[in-house]
Symmetry: C2
Subunit: 341 residues, 2 copies
Amino acid sequence: MNTVKKRLLSPAIIAILLIGFTNPVFSTDDPLPSWNDGPAKQAIIAFVKDTTDQASPKFVPPEERIAAFDQDGTLWVEHPMYTQVTYCLERVPAVVKAKPELKNVQPFKTVLSGNREAMAKFTMKDLEKILAATLTGMTVDEFNAEVKKWMETAKDGRWKRPYTELIYKPMLEVMQYLRANGYKTYVVTGGGQDFVRVYSEKVYGIPPEQVVGTAGGTKYGYAKDGKPILTKEPKLLLNDNDAGKPEGIHLMIGRRPYAAFGNSSGDRQMLEYTKAGEGIRLSMLVLHDDAKREYAYGPAEGLPPTKVGAFTQALYDEAKKQGWVVISMKKDWKRIFAFEP
Amino acid sequence: MNTVKKRLLSPAIIAILLIGFTNPVFSTDDPLPSWNDGPAKQAIIAFVKDTTDQASPKFVPPEERIAAFDQDGTLWVEHPMYTQVTYCLERVPAVVKAKPELKNVQPFKTVLSGNREAMAKFTMKDLEKILAATLTGMTVDEFNAEVKKWMETAKDGRWKRPYTELIYKPMLEVMQYLRANGYKTYVVTGGGQDFVRVYSEKVYGIPPEQVVGTAGGTKYGYAKDGKPILTKEPKLLLNDNDAGKPEGIHLMIGRRPYAAFGNSSGDRQMLEYTKAGEGIRLSMLVLHDDAKREYAYGPAEGLPPTKVGAFTQALYDEAKKQGWVVISMKKDWKRIFAFEP
């Protein structure tokens, strides 16, 4: 045992370890240990090597290294319902308690009844009323505190774990790998910008200012004690879905990403826009084809379409045509969640 | 000569130099050499020391260190006209060349006539027409190229220098000093976000994604060759003036700054919002009281009000009441521009 320990700590080994720790680019460690070897893993590693090698014609200056990640279905589970929609539904009792006049008004009445079948039939207008009531009207600080509190206690129905544990470990590794190589990583989500910002730093290592999402306006004013406050308003500034994703990227970042990751038709324009930039660009699509370990939906294996995260056949065809790399959860991911053994 | 060189490069000196270069916090060099000693300089240095000293109760974690700088009148000259307005007026001939039908239409006709007296009488509606015609309708890439080209050749009337040389050296030092101490510096300008982003990295060392400004929408579409493009639209998303500044900071950054710098009533809400945060916060106002080296306007010394950059008596009074620090260009700045001897 001692001999092994001694041999392990020889100066040469220590030197290699130090190089490994301080210079991840040249580390012999696998930067993506939760990935099986295959075209997806190889595409990520080749992209990082090419864009960070000063001798390569594909070299990208550090300040231009931007990578964008969709959230729902790309970084964490989006089934059976977007987490933020679950949050809004679960906030309804507190909202009605503060405003009892909503108790017998639809769609709040149905939410309070707990009738999931009736809730599944909500129209877009019903949902908008719920979103407005639960995401606006309070100060920015109050909203942040509410989301933070909910995130600490709410649990997913299938895994019985906090939603923030239902993050895809392989994608966390990609983000860390990119950051270790000088990339600024951004969440670019159709979800609420303020919602995701509450936990993005803790969960993804991405600070609030690098979260681009669907954003409503705020109104500057003063509290009773004269302190300035910002109140969340039911006024849509940016619908960060579809064409709104590249538009949001321009508004919030002002540079075209070199890499983008998505999983649904809502990410199509972001993936197109990224891939169309000069030089080498990486666009990747997560395919949910693992019914056993997560969920299966999408076209690739004749899977049924779903209400959320529509990965249509047309999107699959465009991916093949444009050279986007499809990530098969089933084949490419050795493990899906950090809590798995 | 050789002896001096030898002595200068002794190991001890090299060690001191290395410490100086890698650890600016403990450097004995003056971080603000263009500032005269006084309350303004002292306030900046005390703020940085307090917020970066782990032993201080005022310590601010690195990820929360955000500093916001207004641009016109705070970072560069805003007289006699905002630089971006000059840009728009000087773009009019090219716009009319591309759209000859505008030649005899107001306000373009007046701009083409070169009659400055008539231009000075433009209403807000006239200006809006000029801004829409010169800042929208083209792709984002075309706009960037146009601004870049103009910035390389256009010159200010008084100093006969490119506008990007009319940056206040003392403020550049403040930005560098803050960044060397872990602060992320942002421009938060009433000017156009896309306009400032073109030169912010080169001129201020601030990347495009750290520029918050008045922003219009873009529209995602496809060029004739099928490539995705973003076209600038005459649709206002964010008016980054007055209450729009804290609202814009929330939208684009999502955190309250610890330090903010402004010079006019358009910065009032940003300075209030910054100063009202928990812990120690620094709000500073640049007072233009140096008619000889730059311009004099504002209330402090009975200076005349101006069309741009209104530093009103009410603002001065609020500064005193709220504990904002007023920077006197005349007294606090040893030199104003980098090109001065």
